[in-house]
Symmetry: C2
């Protein structure tokens, strides 16, 4: 049997049917909170390509939004989040109220589950606390995460309260996604790769471990963790967070993933999204190398990062055929 | 003996005496090509902090500039480089003429060597071909290196000619720096961390290995390689490029560096520049952890990335004192 395949950001701008919905929606957040449109966006790539899993169409920044912060998405500039600059700002955030504000997302999950074939997996998700915190502290994406690091380094107790706030909301959010029908949840720690030893432990590993433990108690579903860019520290993450599977970014060497990680956890990844743009023999050669290295032990085929808008949909179809045609 | 210490981007905007020179210069490139000013900028941090090495004040983009491309630096927007989009554009570039255009840089090296104490090391440098190529293909910095990867994936022969062109110019450039007085050279591969297995081998390891071999034949100085963000693949880089020392970015775990890398090469790094901004006990605790882990075998204390403009100069002085006060 070939491994299952789904793709991070498999719903999105590279699909004409998605662009049609997006043009109708009043904004990106509006789309995330409209259950009919979000369910349709979630289902489109599964319908078109016969992928093994649907991933909820949403964004990791709905959590800061539900915590009470202004969040805006401009296609050109990237997301902007109302800044949280100090421990004092935290008093404005109410983590226990956040989940009720996310009710439309759970309705989306219910609709997708009802429409999805019973043998297809529905994946819910959230951002991991460190990554979500960087958006809240920087006000958006960042090159060097200067403000977040300076806060974490100089006032770890205050910064820890921010992490705790996000963590509390995230646990409730993931548990409610499962209650609504999600079979698996993934934690995206997109900026895990900027922290060193003890800071990685404190701000990535520990909050993730607490979320995984709480989700396991209250919801009992597999959890995939994606500590993007964490390099050598992915091993520590796999060993210490309790996740069932670890997502590998594009640069994780296959032999190392096979020898060091796969004995501990299922691995998921890691084709370069730009190879999916390139397509053809180069894409298929690398896809087969990934399958040969990782496909004989617990493995989920995926990209190492999200699908980019320039991706020709035909290349996705070719990739799915390539993976489905492989035999261990 | 404590290990030697210098800091990447130790000359720069965080120093008032640098800002004074920069205000006089007509532009950043002008400063790089003015031997009197560039020598002064190089010497300033050594004079102020008593660092063990001076690193030539220059920029990795002088090589594309010397190859004939327009290069501009705007403080706000980052560098812009005239784009090289295809193999056809390569005919405009003349790698053998590049070194003669860089004559002012060699004059800077001579002046610094003459002014520097004989026991202080003078480090020359260049960008590694992959990193320099990304600037030439993207036209500047990039988030996902889409254009560079697409070219490399879809037309490896054509892209290989670009890499060869940069490589040829870089060898001549480094050899000439040594002839002018550099004691050591460092290759900055700032974007090494975005390539996977075979592409890392082809576009980072192989060109670096060829440059190191050529420099060793013609100049016989130690070479430091800095494959920033390469994670697990730093091990392969250390084993296969022939570099004498490997620079570690901030996220390389100390235990792994000690156990896996240090038996093969000298290591250099890797304090987070944001800890240098933070200063105080947090900075000194991590500096001592680095020294305890790596300071008993061949090691050069440095940051894991360049000094940032917000750095208080007093923190640099405190860091130097902390390193000098440590005993193995």
């Amino acid at each position: 049997m070939p491994p299952p395949i789904w793709l991070m950001r498999q719903a999105g701008r590279y699909l004409p049917e998605y662009r049609a919905i997006r043009a109708e929606a009043k904004g990106f957040l509006y789309l995330c909170y409209d259950p009919a449109m979000a369910a349709e966006a979630t289902l489109q790539p599964v319908r078109r390509f016969g992928l093994d899993a649907a991933i909820l169409f949403s964004d990791i920044l709905v959590v800061p939004h539900a915590l009470g912060l202004a969040v805006t998405f401009e296609d050109e500039r990237g997301p902007e989040v109302e800044r949280v600059g100090s421990a004092r700002d935290l008093d404005r955030l109410d983590p226990t109220a956040a989940v009720s504000r996310l009710a439309p997302v759970f309705e989306t999950v219910r609709r997708v589950r009802a429409a999805l074939a019973s043998d297809a997996t529905l994946i819910g998700f959230a951002g991991a606390p460190w990554t979500v915190a960087t958006y809240m502290v920087e006000g958006g994406t960042s090159r060097d995460f200067a403000a977040t690091k300076r806060w974490a380094f100089s006032d770890p107790e205050g910064f820890g309260r921010l992490i705790d706030t996000i963590e509390t909301a995230t646990i409730d959010y993931l548990v409610a996604q499962v209650a609504a029908g999600a079979d698996v949840v993934q934690l995206f720690d997109s900026w895990a790769g900027v922290l060193a030893d003890e800071d990685f432990e404190r701000w990535c590993v520990a909050p993730t471990a607490r979320i995984v433990a709480a989700v396991k108690v209250r919801a009992d579903v597999p959890v995939i963790g994606f500590p993007r860019g964490a390099g050598v520290l992915i091993d520590r993450y796999a060993a210490a967070t309790g996740v069932d599977a670890v997502g590998l970014d594009t640069t994780v060497p296959l032999a190392w993933a096979r020898d060091v990680l796969q004995p501990k956890v299922t691995v998921q990844g890691n084709l370069d999204p730009l190879l999916l743009v390139t397509g053809g023999a180069a894409m298929e050669r690398r896809a087969r190398a990934i399958l040969e290295a990782l496909g004989r032990r617990p493995f989920i085929f995926n990209l190492g990062h999200g699908v980019v808008p320039e991706t020709p949909p035909d290349h996705v179809a070719a990739l799915v055929a390539c993976v489905r045609g492989w035999r261990p």
